[in-house]
Symmetry: C2
Subunit: 160 residues, 2 copies
DNA sequence: CGCCTTGTTCATTATATTTTGAACAATCTG
DNA sequence: CAGATTGTTCAAAATATAATGAACAAGGCG
């Protein structure tokens, strides 16, 4: 295990750093998943912080996040007391985990808010009221459609 | 036009502030779209900064971003030299604009990077090589599928 | 039990992002 | 054209987010 990242490793890590950005996850989370994804052997915290030159704290927190939606799996290594991890490579599993952990809560919250808003329409002055009711209705339509797209998109990912 | 946000306005603005967050857009962009979305009349910069209590700079920049992907349309108001805007309310248009402006460039970039990576595989030591080739192949599969999902998702949004 | 090894937590520090506001440019108006 | 009015830009300030590392907790092991 070389102490520095190879050209290929850098490229792969960079891909996942960008993905992390899109998903509003810390850069270090992308780095961790990236290096595990391209590593044939499972790695422990020491390996990871050495390879990526990040602190132990970041490594620990990053792995916690990755574990939270199943992007990383613990691997038992005989004769070593440390925790080793390997990247989960089945996209479906990762996406499902991510959606459940990080997306659903927001969607649920959104529904609650929409209910609250409905009650506020009546208080509007007439004239505005008609327009506003139309807009809220439209917003609900968007929300419903987003909710419908989600399971479909999940299904779009074939098992391998 | 009241100087402060009503309860309903606050709720609606808050929804779009959250959406802006998910899309990695500044909070002020969400505020601007939100207040325009729920406003029966088109608004100018002065209206917006007064209503939202944000600076002229933020307002100008925020509107620029919203214009860039067609989330907001200029509206001519007779006898007023200022620029007025109304929210584009057709979801399909906004999403299409956003994808073209903010998503496509990244996808294209991704393809280029993947090509570069392919060339790096051969340099790997045997043993690692087999595993790494499998991973890169998998990554390409993901990329291809994401590219396929996009047009489908766009089509999922019915015109109204 | 006393000493390692390992992983986690969290206050502090560092970094990245957003907002502000004043200077500027552009355009209208009399 | 001179003076307003309006919108944009961008350096500096404010804010939000992530990384660091030392203190701590939890287990193992002799």
């Amino acid at each position: 295990m070389k102490p520095a990242l190879s050209e290929l490793e850098k490229e792969v890590v960079d891909i996942f750093v960008r993905i992390a950005g899109v998903l509003s996850l810390p850069r270090s989370v992308g780095e961790l998943y990236g290096i595990l994804f391209i590593s044939p052997e499972p790695m422990c915290i020491d390996d990871l912080m050495l390879k990526l030159k990040i602190s132990k704290g970041s490594t620990s927190q990053g792995l916690k996040i990755l574990r939270s939606f199943g992007a990383v799996n613990p691997v038992y290594v005989a004769g070593d007391r440390r925790d080793f991890y390997a990247a989960e490579a089945e996209l479906r599993k990762i996406v499902a985990g991510f959606v459940n952990e990080q997306v659903r809560p927001h969607l649920d919250n959104g529904k609650a808010r929409m209910a609250r808003i409905e009650g506020l329409i009546d208080a509007e002055e007439t004239g505005r009221k008609e327009f506003i009711a139309e807009r809220i209705e439209r917003l609900q339509g968007w929300q419903k459609r987003a909710g419908a797209l989600l399971p479909f998109a999940l299904n779009f990912i074939k098992p391998e």
